[in-house]
């Protein structure tokens, strides 16, 4: 009886264990559900919503980048306007002061020859100033055009990078959705493949973004080129002034020290 009792107890225990096993293996989490084939997995069920979120987020951030470019254009336009206004004010001030000096210089000329020399001198100075300012304007414009070209080129590159990023992400999501529909892979496998593809797309984009970030260096080089052009214009300007001054002093002869 005892033996029979032991056997029946073991049978009951085994039977109970076996009857509970399916319950223990019942998929209760998304991970467990993703072990199911394709469309049967929680991952595949949730994928369309998550894919839409990712696509929307990429588009939103892409739009923000475009808005940042528009704001950047406005900032640079404001910077240029400020320089133009300051330069115009400075030039006007210098013109007024020079006119005052010219008037005093004219008052010192007593003979027709001296008066003519002063007129010639003034014309030479004005011409030198005009030439210098034109050279400065050209150098300044070259700087701005160069900077704009550099920015446009970079934007074109970044736009291409963003497009590639979008395409890669969308392709990865489309592949995952197709895999879910085909019902040939487990949810886990589809998920891992999608994660790897999205990671690759993201890292590729971020790597490219770091490598093409040279706009600051280009701006400095352009500014250095502009400054060099300014110096060249200054040297030509000084040479013109020296020539005009010597001619004037020669015309004034012994009283040249007064001018």
């Amino acid at each position: 009886m005892k033996r029979i009792s032991r056997i029946s107890s073991a049978a009951i225990l085994t039977g109970a264990t076996l009857s509970l096993m399916p319950l223990a293996l019942t998929p209760v989490s998304s991970f467990a559900l993703s072990q199911s084939l394709g469309s049967g997995s929680t991952f595949c069920t949730e994928l369309p919503g998550k894919a839409m979120n990712i696509t929307n987020q990429i588009n939103t951030l892409s739009s923000k980048a475009t808005q940042a470019w528009t704001q950047q254009d406005q900032k640079l336009a404001t910077d240029e306007q400020k320089v133009d206004q300051d330069v115009a004010t400075d030039r006007q001030h210098a013109d007024t002061e020079r006119a005052t000096d010219f008037a005093k210089l004219e008052a010192k000329a007593t003979t027709p020859a001296e008066k003519q020399a002063v007129q010639t001198y003034e014309a030479a100075v004005l011409n030198a100033v005009t030439v210098r300012r034109a050279a400065y304007d050209a150098a300044r414009q070259a700087f701005r055009t160069g900077l704009k070209n550099a920015i446009d080129s970079r934007r074109s590159t970044v736009t291409s990078q963003i497009d590639t990023f979008k395409s890669s992400a969308n392709a990865a999501l489309a592949t995952a959705e197709a895999d879910c529909t085909s019902n040939t892979m487990t949810g886990t496998s589809i998920r891992q493949t999608l994660q790897a593809s999205l990671k690759s797309a993201r890292e590729t984009f971020q790597s490219e973004r770091k490598s093409d970030d040279t706009i600051g260096t280009q701006a400095k080089q352009l500014a250095a080129t502009r400054t060099a052009a300014f110096h060249t214009a200054d040297q030509i300007f000084q040479a013109s002034l020296t020539t005009a001054r010597q001619a004037l002093k020669q015309a004034f002869g012994s009283s040249s020290t007064s001018v």
């Binding site: 991952f43 998550k50 990712i54 990429i58 951030l61 892409s62 923000k64 980048a65 808005q67 940042a68 470019w69 704001q71 950047q72 900032k75 640079l76 910077d79 400020k82 320089v83 300051d86 400075d90 210098a94 002061e97 000096d101 005093k104 210089l105 008052a107 010192k108 001198y121 100075v125 030198a128 100033v129 210098r132 300012r133 400065y136 700087f143 900077l147 550099a150 963003i162 990023f165 994660q195 999205l198 990671k199 993201r202 984009f205 973004r209 970030d213 706009i215 600051g216 701006a219 400095k220 500014a223 400054t227 300014f230 214009a233 300007f237 002034l241 005009a244 004037l248 007064s258 001018v259």
Partner: protein
């Protein structure tokens, strides 16, 4: 005694006169020295002024003016450079942020 007195009085007058002459010479000397010092200071100050600001209505003045004009203009561009370089890179963060559109680990 009168002679002695008279001589004594006359001697004193000579000494007094010499003393007055010496004092006057000293005052004149000090005055000349002060005048000389003032003149020197004035000349130095005038020379220093001419180095910073040439007399108006001269070619030197016009040279200075035109040079200042050029320097001011170049300075305006240089001052704007930092701001423009900053603005030229102002969209960098926005474009880089696109790469943070998702975290694939959360899928």
């Amino acid at each position: 005694m009168r002679t002695f007195k008279g001589n004594k009085s006359a001697g004193f007058a000579v000494v007094e006169a010499l003393l007055i002459i010496v004092i006057l010479a000293g005052i004149v000397g000090i005055g000349v020295y002060i005048m000389h010092q003032r003149q020197t200071t004035k000349t130095t100050a005038s020379g220093a002024t001419s180095q910073t600001q040439a007399p108006a209505g001269t070619t030197s003045s016009i040279d200075q003016l035109t040079q200042q004009d050029a320097q001011t203009e170049a300075g305006t561009d240089s001052q704007a450079d930092n701001q423009m370089q900053q603005d030229a890179t102002s969209a960098n963060s926005a474009t880089s942020n696109v790469g943070g559109a998702y975290n694939e680990a959360n899928l």
